[in-house]
């Protein structure tokens, strides 16, 4: 549960940052997000 709570906070930050990204930048940022958060997923 703790990891899910941490993931929620990280995802909210990612979502704000992703709002203005183009397709290529979003794809890179999404991969990086999944990599960084893999322990919470």
């Amino acid at each position: 549960m703790r990891s899910a709570l941490e993931l929620g906070q990280s995802f909210e930050r990612f979502r704000r940052e992703a709002a203005d990204l183009d397709a290529d930048a979003l794809a890179g940022a999404w991969r990086e997000f999944l990599t960084q958060e893999q322990l919470n997923l």
């Binding site: 549960m1 703790r2 906070q9 909210e12 979502r15 183009d22």
Partner: protein, 180 residues
Amino acid sequence: MRRRGFNREGLAALLPVLDGREDELGESLEAMPAGRASPFARIASTHFARLVLLDEFPGRNGGTLADMPACLFFAAEFDIPVAGYLEALCALLRDEADAIFGTCVGYPGANVPPLVTDWMLRHRVRPGFSILGNPEASVRQVVDSLTLRERIIAFALETRSLPPVALKDAWDAQDWGTAS
């Protein structure tokens, strides 16, 4: 205990069981579903609830306490005041409460919530400690976070082979709501 806008409370009570009703109580407890299927999940503020039939109590020198009746131990952690929680229990778990607590001495019945509250609080015990798995989060935050994680995993799996433009389209089509 009030944290981040919600009221975290706990209740532990030791309820003597009516003589001869122990087996009935044990069978009711065995039949009760756990996890999200638990009837206590109907009370949205429940972090956890536990019901344990205690049929003997350890005494000194490895023996057991004589003259101590079997007891039902009820413990719960929740995000609302205890009186409100017990009212919710009577309203939302009426049948289960009557079936389980009805095997205990003096239980007044879920149709009279104020008496249930009085009865339960008269049997309240103070635990030496509480284990709080998520002391900084409400039940709603925990459930929302678990749901969001499931959605993130599903989205990652669905889009893992997509090129950037298609991923962007899929991302924009998502309604993530208000992430916690």
